[in-house]
């Protein structure tokens, strides 16, 4: 039997490290269990990004999350990219390295997006073969994340949860389980998000992402803006009841709030997590299978109505780049 979280540590509840918060974090050292950094923002030679990373790494556990692996692209990830990824992981002692079930380049063009794969046996073969190799190369567990998506291929022959489960099992890798992405894709593609949550290998979930999104009515955009919806937190509760204590991270990339507000969102997630773990402990004390979580009669439903907030222009991964854009204004 696979050990829970693949035997990796539970880091508690953390937040994505974003440029506007550096100063506050270093000065106040808030009670956040860990931070997640976007790998590509720190695979640079020197200067401020590297300096800030080192400062924060001295004070907090860090995990590394990438957006440019594009494991399902026609071309393999470049060796120099993987080497830089591994060097960064060694430097910040990232216990695992994550990226996405997606593709992002073709014919030499980098699209800088998390493009969905068709859920087919051919795509499974490709991702499994590469995931094994990459995990070996990195010398630490690789976790792949379910993405938010906005299109559906005619070719797909299975639901997304079957696709990611088969890849994870066959490649023997972890899952970065993004509960908001489950919800966004469920809304966009008319499936039941609870079915998704129940049908993945829970013992392979090594980290969870929570975030807000933007509702455009016809579809949701995964903007990582605003707090998580109640239904997303309910899906999270169910995930924790099924998977047990898993490192959980708040992603907030658009309209990034003051640190205070981000910390409040961390605490909101922590309360849900504590409640779910207590429920899990009660079931196990009664001799019930801790993983057999009964479906609640009153589930949240997907509500199709548009946000009154200004529609956001796009999705970003990892917030603003640390770059010259912030120089004069910091």
């Amino acid at each position: 039997m696979t050990r829970s979280r693949l035997g990796l540590p539970d880091l508690g509840v953390g937040a994505g490290l974003r440029v506007p918060h550096y100063r506050d974090i270093l000065q106040r050292q808030p009670a956040v269990d860990f931070f997640e950094v976007i790998s590509e923002n720190f695979m640079l030679a020197g200067g401020k990004p590297r300096y800030h990373l080192e400062q924060i790494a001295e004070r907090y556990p860090l995990v590394q999350h990438g957006v440019s692996l594009g494991i399902g692209s026609p071309e393999e990830p470049a060796r120099e990219y993987l080497t830089a990824l591994r060097d960064l992981a060694d430097r910040i002692k990232s216990p695992w390295v994550s990226d996405h079930f997606c593709w992002c380049r073709a014919g030499g063009t980098e699209l800088h997006d998390l493009l969905p794969l068709p859920y087919t046996p051919e795509a499974i073969e490709r991702v499994v073969t590469r995931a094994k190799r990459i995990q070996d190369f990195l010398g630490r567990p690789l976790a792949l994340e379910n993405t938010s998506s906005y299109l559906t291929y005619r070719e797909s022959s299975m639901p997304e949860w079957e696709f990611i489960s088969e890849v994870a099992e066959r490649a023997d890798i972890g899952l970065m389980f993004d509960v908001n992405n489950v919800y966004v894709s469920a809304y966009n593609h008319d499936f039941d998000p609870y079915e998704f949550v129940r049908n993945v290998p829970h013992e392979r979930i090594v980290q969870i992402h929570l975030a807000g999104h933007t509702n455009l009515g016809r579809y949701l955009l995964d903007t990582h803006s605003g707090p998580a919806l109640d239904i997303v937190l309910d899906l999270y509760r169910e995930t924790i009841e099924l998977a047990g204590p898993v490192s959980t991270l708040i992603e907030w990339d658009e309209d990034i709030p003051p640190l205070e507000e981000l910390l409040a969102e961390v605490e909101r997630a922590r309360a849900v997590r504590d409640g779910a773990l207590a429920a899990r402990a009660r079931r196990s004390a009664l001799g019930l299978d801790a993983s057999a979580v009964p479906a609640r009669p009153e589930r949240y439903r997907i509500v199709r109505e548009q946000d009154t907030r200004r529609a956001s222009p796009g999705w970003k991964q990892g917030g603003p780049r640390e770059g010259v854009a912030h120089e004069e204004r910091s």
Binding site: T152, N188, G314, G323, A325
Partner: protein, 271 residues
């Protein structure tokens, strides 16, 4: 090629097109053959969501790095410039950090741009800032090291210039203009003046700065940055004329002291 790779190459081409999917009947038909769509979003609209994001993301990244250039040439020219640039140089690096690497050269050849010479100076300046921002860290040269170089070794010694230093020979005071625009001001555009020789560098506090140099200092530092030995770099200064020659006699030591104090030098290599 596999079916999957073929599908992805087709999508990559579709996503990098400038025209909305819905406005191209052939693309609409192709999208319908590949995507399912749903009750709310047609297959071509599913593809369009990603195509639109491709442009938003890449023009957004260029705007972050070339804000002053965009301000000076204004919206219409900026849009044409970035569209033509991305068509000519599709993103080829895993990081958006590198996206604008060839924009300075592209701007130089885009003679249709308003304020063309100023635009070329701004593009070069803004890219220098991007490069200096995250260039390799290096320890500054301890000025006392200079004093320890033995007399006979001076000629052939090389002073190593820090990787976080860029030298720009400009026609306009582009770094100052860049700064004003980034602070949200709407300054009057400068007139072309005498040559504007500038060093853009990262200070010991990791903040980015620029400083104007006179011709002699600029020639000297540029020579060192190109890897010239001290004798050759100094000869290039002397070649500027008798006045420069006299200054080499009297000021060389203080120039090196100044370069070292700013952190522009990082080491000495004795031949």
């Amino acid at each position: 090629m596999t079916d999957l790779s073929e599908l992805q190459r087709w999508m990559s081409d579709a996503l990098t097109r400038r025209r909305a999917v819905e406005r191209d009947p052939a693309q609409v038909a192709a999208a319908r053959a590949r995507f399912t769509g749903n009750e709310r979003v047609a297959p071509e609209a599913q593809l369009e969501t990603y195509r639109e994001q491709f442009w938003l993301r890449h023009t957004g990244a260029l705007l972050e790095d070339f804000e002053a250039l965009a301000h000076v040439i204004e919206q219409q020219a900026w849009e044409r410039l970035v569209e033509e640039y991305l068509a000519a140089h599709p993103p080829s690096s895993f990081t958006l950090r590198d996206l604008g690497a060839r924009l300075p050269e592209f701007v130089r050849s885009a003679s249709w741009l308003p304020h063309h010479s100023l635009s070329a100076d701004l593009a070069a300046t803004e890219w220098a800032y991007v490069e200096v921002f995250d260039a390799v860290d290096s320890a500054p040269l301890d000025p006392s090291t200079l004093a320890q170089i033995p007399e006979h070794a001076w000629e052939r010694a090389r002073l190593l210039v820090a990787p976080s230093v860029r030298l720009l020979e400009l026609d306009f005071p582009a770094p100052a203009l860049r700064r004003q625009i980034r602070l949200g001001e709407d300054p009057e555009l400068p007139a072309r003046g005498e040559a504007h020789l500038v060093v853009v560098y990262r200070g010991s506090d990791r903040n980015l700065r620029h400083e104007r140099l006179d011709r002699a200092e600029f020639v000297l530092l540029s020579g060192l940055a190109r890897g010239q030995a001290l004798l050759r770099a100094t000869e290039a200064v002397i070649a500027l004329g008798p006045e420069a020659e006299a200054r080499v006699e009297s000021e060389l030591g203080s120039w090196f002291g100044h370069f070292a104090a700013r952190g522009w030098l990082t080491g000495v290599e004795l031949a």
